[in-house]
Amino acid sequence: MLTPEVATFIEGKVMMLVATRDATHRPMIGRGSGASYDGASGLVTVLVSASQWPDAVAHAGEGLPIATTYVRAHDYRAFQIKGVITGVREADVAESERGVRYVREQLEVMMGLGVTRLQLSSTLSDRDLVAITFRPLDVFQQTPGPGAGQRFSAEADA
């Protein structure tokens, strides 16, 4: 289970990284376009553009591991959540709308920090979204500094 703090954090205005891997353990990188946490099931769903990140999505399969990192751009506060994928499917209407909203809001956030729309041109995408759902196994604090990489153990349901 995620703590309310972490759950709120990943559903907020944060940039998202996603990593899967192939059979040789070669990592595949993608970026998320919104995430949500279902407290009842304890599952996290992250939206990823299949057309922008085909490799990462291709290696996202049920039972396979996934790592996701969430970073708040203005202060670099970050968490990494690792888990096992429980399902991959096309995003539904509500999720697609969430993805559109996410891209719009993140553009505002990043442009407010001086990043241009062009620089983010292929970083943020709300097209062809797939919903990757996974069960969290570990939460790590990822904010740069002495505590970076430490397990967020008190709150994580490992």
Binding site: R21, P27, P65, A67, Q80, T116, T123
Partner: protein, 447 residues
């Protein structure tokens, strides 16, 4: 595989890179990474300071995947990496160390670089923008023909045989051809402890005589390492303040403020080398992020080399062409009664000269000025030959060919900028005239 040299603007850290690894059981790990350093066509370097999990995973299987982003176009590329070796010294290590030192100046958590990890690049492929939010402009700064522009500027400099005009022409050319509106040239002292501004463009004050310590800030680092130093975005990671502080270098003893933008986002300093000797540093800055790209750095290296050689030869040329005969006696302008008294103090410790209580100049230019003022005070002499000054051992010129010309330019410009009662003019090649509008009251202060 995409050529790494064709995506050099993605190795700038303007947009953070991403690194992913997997542990022995296949669980991935993904995080941001500030810099991926280009080493050669098949290798990149990573500074492994913070990423303990990444390091553990690489130790387990030797694999890493990174995503790099072009700081201007947003284009992304994936690099498949295999760990090759760690280095704790050498050119790549020093380059990374220098870069980190610059970014960390003024920050509280400075971490010493322990090693750089060198990775072989197994593949480099684009991440096509499936649905781009915006397309890069067809024409733009990122498409400028750097070689043609550098050639044009270098050509124009070859037509100039006067060192002072040469410096101004170079800075003017940087603005006209490259759009770099804020620039300066600094020259080193003989002991290589500081650099002094001799030419500047695009600032409210010229700042002639302003100093930067070797090893400090972008300029000082370029001088001490004899390598170009470029910062593409000071805004990332709260760099504003450190950028401003780092610019000065000599915080404790600022006598003339360095001309500087209040909040530069991009800076580039390129050493000017001729015959293996540091002749100066060519510096440009901008209030826009990512103004100076890799290709700009290469273009400025060409210009800096041309400038250095031109200065070197201007010096030699002047030595050959200067007149041997001492200047004809010209009656000194005798101050009339009631002329203002100019208080001039000389501190032998650092050869600094103060005029009417205000710092004027120090070092070799200070000794030169004092030498002329003493002669003027003793005999009313105003005219001097460059040649005789070069040979005057009492001036303690470290090397009789040691950039006397640039020191004289500096002195003359500093006096002009003060717009005060003392000037040095050049009635003809190889000669100088000291003009003193008032009664010079000289005193030497021993400390």
């Amino acid at each position: 595989m995409i050529s790494l040299s064709s995506i050099r603007d993605s190795f700038e850290g303007v947009i953070p890179s991403v690194i992913a690894t997997a542990d022995a059981y296949g669980m991935p790990n993904v995080s941001y990474l500030s810099h991926v350093y280009y080493v050669d066509e098949r290798h990149v370097a990573l500074s492994n300071q913070f990423f303990s999990k990444t390091a553990a995973n690489v130790a387990a299987n030797g694999l890493a995947t990174v995503l790099v982003v072009d700081g201007f176009t947003g284009d992304q590329h994936v690099l498949d990496l295999s760990f090759e070796r760690s280095e704790t010294e050498g050119e790549t290590f020093e380059h990374v160390e220098r870069h980190l030192a610059l970014l960390e100046q003024g920050m509280s958590h400075v971490m010493k670089l322990r090693a750089v990890d060198i990775y072989q690049v197994d593949d480099c492929r684009p991440v096509p923008a499936a649905n781009p939010l915006e397309l890069p402009p067809v024409h733009g700064e990122h498409r400028r023909d750097h070689l043609a522009l550098a050639a044009e500027l270098a050509q124009s400099l070859t037509e100039e045989n006067d060192a002072e005009r040469l410096l101004d022409a170079a800075l003017e050319g940087l603005e006209r051809l490259f759009g770099f509106r804020h620039s300066m040239v600094l020259v080193p002292d003989s002991g290589h402890s500081r650099l002094t501004t001799i030419a500047s463009r695009g600032y409210q004050e010229f700042g002639f005589g302003a100093e930067v310590a070797f090893g400090k800030g972008v300029i000082g680092l370029a001088a001490s390492a004899l390598k170009p130093v470029r910062v593409t975005d000071f805004s990332r990671g709260r760099r504003y303040l450190s950028a401003v502080n780092a610019m000065g270098g000599i915080d404790e003893d600022v006598r003339i403020p360095l001309p500087a933008l209040p909040a530069p986002l991009s800076q580039l300093a390129v050493p000017m080398l001729a015959h293996g000797r540091l002749m100066g540093v060519l510096f440009a800055e901008a209030d826009k992020a990512f103004t100076f790209r890799y290709a700009d750095e290469q273009a400025l290296r060409l210009i800096a080399a041309q400038l250095a050689l031109s200065l070197f030869w201007a010096e030699s040329e002047r030595e050959r062409q200067e007149p041997e005969t001492p200047p004809a006696a010209v009656p000194a302008k005798v101050p009339v009664d009631g002329a203002r008294t100019i208080s001039l103090r000389f501190y032998p410790r650092d050869a600094s000269v103060f005029m009417d209580g205000e710092y004027l100049i120090r070092g070799v230019p200070g000794r030169l000025l004092w030498h002329m003022l003493e002669q003027y005070a003793a005999s009313g002499r105003q005219d001097f030959l460059n040649r005789e000054i070069r040979r005057d051992r009492s001036l303690q010129l470290p090397d009789f060919k040691d950039n006397l010309e640039t020191r004289l330019i500096l002195l003359r410009r500093r006096l002009d900028e003060k717009d005060g009662p003392i000037r040095i003019t050049r009635p003809e090649r190889g000669r100088m005239r000291l003009e003193v509008d008032g009664r010079a009251d000289l005193s030497v202060i021993e400390e």
